[in-house]
Point group: none
């Protein structure tokens, strides 16, 4: 939750505490409805409340609106990123790229595209989304850095650019079947090889 009272020192706010079961019920209901094929437009707070067996006010008490709820739902779903360290850059990257645009809970797959319109408009949303991505980027940076240290990659490799070039095609393909002729499954390996065919040292 965005502003839950988690600070241990706090003397505990007065009044009845918020129910964590309710939190879960709301997020579950949201995912269910998304999975049933609603657009973000069609996904109504009213429907979520009904499905979760919860009053609307209980939702608005926790989130400022549909957008915030979606982002938080996503954060809940995105567990910690995989942290591969096979000793081989290629293998590590394959693992990471295979996780791009995916969540443990399959119902959440369709959330990403729904977020894009709001990412563009709402700076706060954009910040939240970056927060969500940053840990994953950091893992990939570490993998690349280790590759450089081991001499598998050029020392002058532009890490940020590499991140973008590896991730972007896989993500777009997964989310939108962007390029009709590309096979989604084999894409990570092919992207890596295409790029590293030229970047790999010696």
């Amino acid at each position: 939750m965005t502003d839950m009272t988690t600070t241990a020192d706090a003397p505990r706010s007065p009044g009845r505490p918020r129910s964590t079961r309710v939190d879960e019920a709301i997020v579950e209901a949201t995912l269910d409805l998304l999975a049933e094929g609603s657009t973000l437009e069609a996904l109504s707070i009213e429907a979520i409340a009904a499905r979760a067996g919860v009053g609307k006010a209980t939702i608005y008490r926790r989130w400022s609106g549909k957008e915030a709820l979606i982002v938080d739902t996503l954060r809940t779903l995105k567990g910690p990123p995989p942290v591969p360290d096979t000793g081989n850059v290629r293998a590590d990257l394959v693992i990471l790229l295979s996780a791009v645009g995916r969540t443990p809970d399959a119902r959440a797959a369709s959330i990403f595209p729904c977020m894009m319109p709001m990412l563009q408009r709402d700076p706060a949303m954009h910040r939240l989304y970056q927060e969500l991505l940053e840990p994953r980027r950091q893992v990939m940076r570490d993998v690349l850095r280790r590759g450089i240290e081991r001499g598998e990659l050029r020392a002058d490799l532009d890490i940020e650019l590499t991140l973008a070039m590896l991730t972007a095609p896989v993500l777009l393909q997964r989310l939108l079947r962007w390029h009709p002729k590309l096979d989604e499954e084999s894409l990570p390996e092919r992207v890596i090889d295409a790029l590293f065919g030229g970047i790999a040292a010696d």
Copy 2:
């Protein structure tokens, strides 16, 4: 327009013909509102009608709904793709990539992200979008093919993969400022060089 009666050969239906000025006014109003920062959710038919000085029914007579109107607006804006032939692959690709995610009318920039949710859900929308992209992809394929013929690129180059790897990072960066540390302007050149540093023939 989806079903405009402009073709001269048609037997010409009786009654007052549809005004093309109205068509333009509606598209213009749509773009204005998008430019003013509305989400697709917030962008209402009612607002478009009011802004265009047009009755709601006049819009529904032309398009089936918000989505159809958006797609058509986009089609109107996307002029023909640039067809560069400088004799040099790199120069040609820089021109093409610079046009990725861009339209003659700057107001339309924010339409792409708005479309993504519907691309994912609505197969018809997806097909329309692919139609829109295909001509641009074809141009890029031709550029690459010429590069191969001229010996600038390897003969065994995977053209479709290359398309995706060049286009995806630029598009995501333009639409969503996906990667905070990448400069949007220089990105096309850097993407090309990173990829071709390894792909270019000897």
Copy 3:
């Protein structure tokens, strides 16, 4: 094309005209619900809309809120006041007082008390209510005046005071069964006689 030739003889506003059937349905639904025993508090716009088979907006388009709707409903029910002229003051007054606090439609009986809280607070409501009463008061003034002219009543009779003294006990008794020991039916005659026993000219 955009501007219409204004101020023609036609008072007719543009667009689809409001349906009178809808007006009736709303008033009917309101009366039904009141008759079913709802307090004004409990009488919800939402329930009225549902009962009338009408959208809430359709109600708000016509009335500013519950209060205005109630007053208008009342106005609809209160037909024109009886205009008795039997040639005898007492007989005329009995007729008028028998109509006090009553409506052609029995369902409306409970509206009066519901209005009192708002009459006191809202000046606009108060004005509306006085408008509603004024025609009835005028009729009674005329009756009294004719009584004076015919010599049945003193020439120095305070007409306004007489109005109040005749009407108030009957109204309160009808609406609230104010005085448990008074018979509602015979009250008009007794009130008149009590007052006129002292006021009638010798």
Copy 4:
């Protein structure tokens, strides 16, 4: 209060006793809000609780709802009725009628109209209200009876009818400014004289 633990004989229930300060604070808050112009509809338990600095449950522990609270508040305010005995009917009645529709605490003036809707619907409420009025009626009956004994009034005077005819106009005028042309202040005397001009013996 409906069930306060103030009676000394009671076996005294265990646990913390209810605070009388809280009772007062709640009634005070209620009067304040009524005085500030809230309708009974608008007068919310939540607002009363907030104003009184009290939890909502603390109110519901004492009263079953808004209505019960209002009635109890009224009972608190209505002190004992004046018991005049000047030796003159007219003077006694002027004193009594001047007190009609009035309370020691001016803020309570607006409660009467608020009660009317519930008087009509809820028999229990109606009974409570009659209990509240009865002592005042009894005082007026005594006054009238003494007037008859002293020969100031006819022996065959209908006491109940006289009560109603004197009280009703003054009450309606005070609560609702029923009759716009009547002066509220002089009304008691004029009502008495109009009625007694005809009723007084010889």
